[in-house]
């Protein structure tokens, strides 16, 4: 319930999706009914919130906090965006096509695309953005982690970076507004997962400064021009960012004159919403009933693009032989009453997850097994793998040894602690004697997960969650060789035929054939079905995104991938 | 006799709490003549200090209270004044010095300021003038380096110096009456003499009357013109000093005299008074000295004796003499 819950998932949220937080698209969730009642008015100030302090770097890709990234995404648009149907659509670039061998992408900058000071955006600005992402300064000195976006471009060495200011040979300027990017290997996910994120940078400011000095320059501390809908006018470190409408915004000048981001503790944000001091903020699902009673607020609920899971260390030295059996994990999935947990934890505002992609996702396989709550079936499955109920009413290992797995949770997060309590009670109901370890620091959990190659770490079961990016590309997390799989999923045994199939399907999902969308859907469906049946981890559910906003705010497009099109939002007066 | 400077009639000061009533001063009468020294003598607990505080209306509250009596000073009844009017009298027309020079001076204020503030208060002097006068006062009480002393703090002075500073403070406005509550008790014998001499000379110079409160009959013998002997919150004998020393009438006074060591008499041992001063919370019903009195008779335990004038100006509270 408290801010600590953000701590737990923050790290996970940041990495997979923060990059796209502001300018992503998804399936459309319509605005509130009030939107069309009165004519659009211009002007006004909108206040949005961050729950904790933001970082100090505002040059794109340099930010160290998700919140700075969110503010930056209002000021800098990338070349392309996702629309409300989660499809790539025009932004600074308004035309794009691929070569027949699918290795070269051609882009054309919208002739109306300008910086907020009126200067036109050119391919030189795009080039600076590309150079920056591949520069040694960014990748090494500043420790930037988004260089991977362009690592498939021709001319990028295996180290993943180039000397400062050097442009990869795969990037070509074809004219003041035309450029192309050539890849080393054809990749169906390259555009939606990587190239969309290329962000033009203002050459006439940053071009004059060596990249090694970008970090900490005045422009980094406070970028005064940009290409996004709102341009930063003032920053008070740790507390607020004020942005004004960009009259030259390529997708149309915003109606709202000013946007303020304020850091407000989640403990008081509901009050700020009720008093009208905050225009829009995420709230806890559990508060929805009370907040619906506040007369000046609308509540919007959309499913989130992510999932939470109960993980097992499949290679655990003590119980790995049980954990690694899919039947065991299926039994667990049946044993847990997930609807009841969603009701208790999120007042019902949550979505059950049955596979690696949430049901809201465009690519979701609708024919997956939903594992309805069925303790009898769970018991039967557990019996079938020889886990008999022994003395004290607890199941034993097939070899008769006691079976008392432990669940490790992070401290300071009451939601996770509740989740653990519920899971424990459901597993105990099917005679699994799950114990919950005293909560420990999240970093300690990570350390233990990171160094668990021999299965000797104390961690046996754990709870974790991911937020996902727009494109369902499973690489980075699900391949048996992916570091994050090793750390957070542990589904890596190369001899397991299911895992071999997993790697094969993932490979096929982005190869050349996958440029055919139907092929890609079919492959991803097969992959989802495999994971749904294998359950490398016990998929649970995810909390919905609950947003409370003032009734005077109109035009917001709520999607699982963010609140889109801020340039179209407007504030009615005299509410 | 001339009109007395101070006339105390039937003064009663009680400590009243929920559970008890303590008669610290129980109907005291005496007079002080202008320019004369009245000695009040008695053991600790006899009510002499509380009498002196009552005269200044400094009885510690809220339990301590003057319940009855008249204190007529230069024709006005002090007990009828408002607190504000009374504060115009204190330090101005009546000065007071206390037993403990160690604690009676404020440790965090300079000596000069503590003297000067009296002058500023009553003589409306400026700070600078007050300081100048303070130096003069300090010199008059025998400080050779008075200019330095004004800027020193009490802890930098010795006990005798502090007491002299106290006297300077009390005498600053040349009061008509100085109440000295055991001024020498806490001092060395040699210093005692200095202080007493100082008081005597000031008296002679300014014509200040003094109420000298002490348990030390030697001091009384040296200083006092008149003597009041107190016991159990009451006056048991009052007369001129000569009368009291030559012809003590009350058995208590006699006993006190017995206990003075006299150098030229070769006595085997000093007489002492058996027993202790009764607690003010539960006085005996009859004569308060009766339980310790060697002469006490049955009647003494029954009835409280009146203060009678046995000889002209010599009052005694004893039915046996």
């Amino acid at each position: 319930m408290k801010r600590k819950s953000t701590l737990f998932t923050a790290a996970a949220v940041m990495t997979l999706s923060a990059l796209f937080a502001g300018y992503s698209g998804g399936i459309g969730v319509a605005d509130a009914a009030t939107a069309h009642r009165s004519p659009v008015t211009n002007g006004g100030t909108m206040v949005q919130t961050f729950p904790t302090a933001f970082g100090l770097n505002f040059i794109p890709f340099l930010s160290t906090s998700a919140y700075t990234a969110a503010a930056t995404s209002y000021s800098f648009d990338s070349i392309l965006r996702f629309n409300r149907n989660d499809q790539v659509s025009a932004d600074i670039v308004n035309k794009w096509w691929t070569s027949p061998d699918k290795k070269t992408y051609y882009f054309q900058i919208n002739p109306k695309a300008r910086w907020s000071n009126g200067m036109y955006i050119t391919t030189g600005d795009v080039k600076l953005g590309v150079d920056w992402l591949l520069s040694k300064s960014y990748n090494v000195t500043d420790g930037g982690s988004y260089g991977y976006l362009l690592s498939n471009v021709v001319g990028v060495p295996s180290s993943g970076y180039l000397p400062d200011g050097q442009t990869p040979s795969g990037f070509k300027i074809l004219g003041p507004r035309e450029f192309s990017v050539t890849l080393q290997h054809a990749d169906a996910a390259a555009l939606p997962a990587n190239l969309v994120a290329i962000t033009p940078l203002p050459t006439y400011i940053l071009g004059k400064i060596p990249m090694s000095q970008w970090k900490g320059t005045p422009f980094d501390r406070h970028p005064w021009i940009g290409s996004g809908p709102f341009i930063t006018t003032s920053i008070v470190p740790g507390q607020s960012i004020t942005q004004k409408a960009n009259p030259y915004y390529v997708l149309g000048a915003p109606h709202i004159a000013q946007n303020v981001w304020k850091v407000i503790s989640t403990d008081v944000v509901n009050g700020d919403l009720a008093s009208g001091q905050v225009t829009m903020a995420a709230i806890h699902a559990i508060d929805v009933a009370q907040m619906k009673k506040v007369p000046n607020l609308n509540i919007n609920v959309v499913p989130s693009n992510g999932f939470q899971y109960l993980g097992w260390r499949l290679n655990n030295a003590t119980y790995g032989s049980v954990f690694s059996q899919a039947t065991f994990r299926q039994a667990v999935e049946y044993a847990i009453n997930r609807p009841a947990m969603v009701k208790a934890l999120y007042a019902g505002y949550g979505t059950l997850e049955n596979g690696p992609l949430p049901p809201i996702n465009f690519w979701y396989n609708k024919s997956l097994n939903t594992y309805p709550y069925d303790p009898a079936k769970a018991n039967a499955l557990l019996n079938s793998i020889g886990m008999k109920i022994g003395a004290g009413g607890w199941r034993t290992m097939p070899n008769g040894q006691p079976f008392t797995p432990t669940l490790t949770i992070s401290s300071g997060d009451t939601t996770i602690q509740r989740q653990a309590d519920f899971i424990q009670s459901f597993l105990q109901a099917v005679h699994i004697n799950l114990k919950i370890n005293p909560p420990i620091n999240f970093n300690t959990i990570l350390t233990q997960l990171n160094s668990d190659s021999n299965g000797k770490q104390p961690i046996q079961a754990f709870l974790l969650g991911w937020s996902l990016s727009n494109d369902p590309d499973p690489r980075g997390l699900w391949r048996s060789t992916d570091n994050l799989n090793i750390v957070t999923i542990d589904w890596t045994n190369p001899k397991d035929p299911a895992i071999q199939l997993n790697d094969k399907l993932i490979h096929e999902s982005h190869g050349k054939a996958a440029y055919n969308i139907n092929y890609r859907i079919a492959t991803l469906n097969k992959w989802q079905a495999l994971l749904n049946q294998q359950l490398p981890e016990n998929f649970l559910f995810d909390a919905n995104n609950v947003t409370a906003y003032n009734k005077n705010l109109h035009g917001v497009v709520f999607t699982p991938y963010g609140n889109l099109d801020p340039q179209k939002w407007w504030l009615s007066t005299g509410n | 006799m001339a009109e007395p400077l101070l006339k105390v009639r039937n003064l009663k000061t009680y400590f009243i709490s929920k559970h008890s009533q303590v008669k610290a001063v129980d109907g005291v009468d005496f007079e002080v003549q202008p320019g004369k020294v009245l000695g009040i003598v008695g053991e600790s607990g006899s009510g002499k200090s509380m009498t002196s505080l009552s005269l200044m209306r400094l009885v510690p509250g809220p339990q301590g209270r003057i319940v009855e009596g008249e204190v007529t000073f230069e024709g006005t009844d002090l007990l009828k004044l408002t607190e504000r009017q009374m504060s115009d009298v204190r330090g101005n027309r009546m000065g007071m010095i206390f037993q403990e020079p160690m604690t009676a001076l404020n440790p965090v204020l300079k000596v000069g300021e503590q003297i000067g503030e009296v002058l500023i208060r009553h003589r409306k002097l400026s700070k600078a003038e007050a300081k100048k006068q303070s130096i003069g006062l300090l010199r008059s009480v025998g400080f050779p380096r008075a200019e330095q002393i004004v800027d020193e703090y009490p802890h930098q002075l010795s006990g005798g110096m502090r007491q002299r500073a106290m006297i300077a403070m009390a005498m600053a406005c040349q009061p008509k009456l100085l109440i000295a509550d055991e001024p020498t008790t806490a001092l060395d014998v040699t210093i005692q003499a200095q202080v007493l001499d100082l008081m005597k000379s000031l008296k002679n110079k300014n014509g200040t009357a003094i109420i000298l409160i002490t348990h030390d009959l030697g001091v009384i013998a040296e200083m006092a013109d008149d003597v009041v002997v107190m016991y159990g919150g009451q006056v048991v004998e009052s007369a001129t000093a000569d009368a009291v020393f030559d012809d003590p009438l009350h058995p208590y006074t006699k006993a006190l005299m017995e206990s003075i060591p006299v150098i030229d008499q070769d006595r085997d041992r000093l007489a002492s008074i058996p027993g202790t001063v009764p607690s003010a919370a539960n006085f005996p019903s009859g004569c308060r000295f009766a339980p310790r009195c060697t002469l006490a008779q049955e009647s003494c335990h029954q009835k409280m004796p009146e203060l009678r004038e046995l000889k002209p100006g010599h009052y005694v509270r004893c039915d046996l003499v």
């Binding site: 208790a344 | 014998v189 009959l217 001091v219 206990s259 202790t276 919370a281």
Partner: protein
Amino acid sequence: MAASVVSKAGVKSGGTVVKGKPPSRLAFERFMRNPLAVAGAIILLAIIFITVGAPLFTHYSPSVIDIMNTNAPPSAAHPLGTDPSGYDNLARLLYGGRVDLTVAFSAGVMTLVIGTIYGGISGYFGGWIDNLMMRFVDVMLNFPFVVFILFLEAVFNTSGELLLITVVVLTSWPASGRFMRGVFIQLRQQDFVIGATTIGAGAWRTIFRHMLPNTVGTLSVLVSFAVAGYVGLEAALTFIGLGLPLSVASWGGMLSEASNYTAMTTQPYLWLPPAIMIVLTILSVNFIGDGLRDAFDPQMRS
């Protein structure tokens, strides 16, 4: 001039001497005459009784969840409703006091015991012993609490009640140690201590027999503030996520759980009962502390 010898005999008889009653008995009588102190003692005993005897008042367990009945408003079955885990709030309130009282009183006792012994030794002996001991107190006073908790949590791979108490015990004594040193230094210069030393009483006997009883007043105030402070501390730590895990019921935990705008304005049954319990506990401890001070140190009363 005659020297004064008169009446030194039988001087020290100022107050009421009631024969045959030891000072502790007198103190007890004075304590019992103080209505606030007696009320404080009764309230504290009542609180201890209901927390220790919690099973007498509710048949719910504070650690059994009920997923089908979470976030329920007050009802006949659950007079204070249930929390998001389905715990019965009344049961958590009754049992929760055990943790708060344990934490607070272990802090109080440590303040008392270590503070007095440490401060006593340091203040009594003075010199280099004092210097060394006070430098150590400086270090401990400066020691960041949060680092301590995180360290213990990380190294012992655990969290919860025992950890919290350990940290409280480790960090509660230095302030009182320094304070008591000051008290002992003052006492050391007083006549009765000098007297005791001159008649050859040993250091330990002087400290414990002669000096200690004179510190009771100061100590009682220190302890009452320590107890109050650490009840609040438990709540504060839980609030920032460093306190007790959810599975351990505590007043501070309940209060911090309900410390958000929505609960504060619409669900008083969540935060008012633990808040009242905390305030009552601290109030009663304070009244008892005042009463003890007045009882042992009658000069302090006006």
